[in-house]
């Protein structure tokens, strides 16, 4: 999550009060789809690697529109992942079906905007300041 993400991590996730789920959207297909699949395959080796890959892609989003297939494999290697296992996953039916299913499910939930957020059942559309998340989280905490 860009913007407020770091503050939410430090304030609420690190303390165990909030769990963040990243739900990949692939509305434009192409590299949007490949990036989601690549992160998913990093996660198949280690869930922590999913977030390392996720954070890398967020930090390098300007490169992604012109990234080729090698870019995603090289990123996996640079993060210390097993290249063969990553490649096998990247081209597998299972990973592609999972990414497609997740995208279909978010559409069934009525999620169209990028990004959108579901904070304890409250939907937010578009980028949000930390204060918007904080208000909902504080109200939802026991």
């Amino acid at each position: 999550m860009r913007g407020a993400g770091q503050e939410i991590l430090e304030t609420y996730v690190a303390s165990g009060q909030v769990k963040i789920i990243f739900w990949p959207m692939t509305p434009t297909g192409g590299n949007s789809y490949l990036a989601a699949t690549a992160a998913y395959c990093a996660g198949q080796q280690d869930p922590q690697a999913y977030w390392a890959y996720h954070d890398f892609l967020y930090d390098h989003y300007k490169e992604l529109t012109r990234a080729d297939l090698d870019y995603f494999g090289e990123t996996a290697v640079s993060l210390g992942l097993d290249e063969d296992a990553f490649t096998t996953c990247f081209y597998s039916d299972e990973s592609q079906e999972t990414i497609s299913r997740l995208d279909a499910e978010r559409m069934q939930r009525g999620i169209q905007h990028r990004p959108s957020f579901d904070v304890a059942g409250t939907l937010l559309f578009g980028p949000q300041p930390f204060s918007a998340f904080e208000q909902i989280i504080q109200a939802a905490l026991p």
Binding site: M1, L9, E10, Y12, V13, A14, G16, Q17, V18, K19, I20, I21, F22, W23, P24, M25, T26, T28, N31, S32, A35, A36, A39, Y40, G43, P47, Q48, Y50, W51, A52, D55, F56, L57, D59, Y61, E63, L64, T65, Y71, E74, T75, S78, L79, R101, L102, E105, R106, I111, R114, P115, S116, F117, D118, V119, A120, F133, I137, A140, L141, P142
Partner: protein, 93 residues
């Protein structure tokens, strides 16, 4: 340096044997062998460009935060039993 040192020591020994000679302090030869690099000041590190594929260190405490995968295939980070769940729907582009 070595021939000069030997010559200097020989001169000093001969001078010491001469009657009425004043013995110079022997430390003159020792101070001449201090390596120059011992006093060198390290140059400041110049930042270099990261290779395109190299990971950029992130300040996130991701390494100490639990992470996992839900049965539906999506990944989470944080305590799996955290009282509040935040779902981010987005792509990477």
């Amino acid at each position: 340096m070595r021939p000069i040192t030997i010559t200097l020591l020989t001169t000093l020994l001969l001078a010491a044997c001469a009657p009425g000679a004043v013995q110079p302090p022997p430390k003159a030869a020792a101070t001449a062998v201090i390596p120059a690099e011992a006093t060198a000041v390290p140059s400041p590190i110049t930042p270099t460009a990261q290779p395109t594929g190299a990971p950029t260190p992130t300040p996130t405490p991701a390494a100490i935060i639990p992470a996992g995968q839900n049965p539906d295939g999506a990944f989470y980070r944080g305590d799996p039993h955290a009282p509040v769940t935040l779902i981010e729907y987005s792509d990477f582009l």
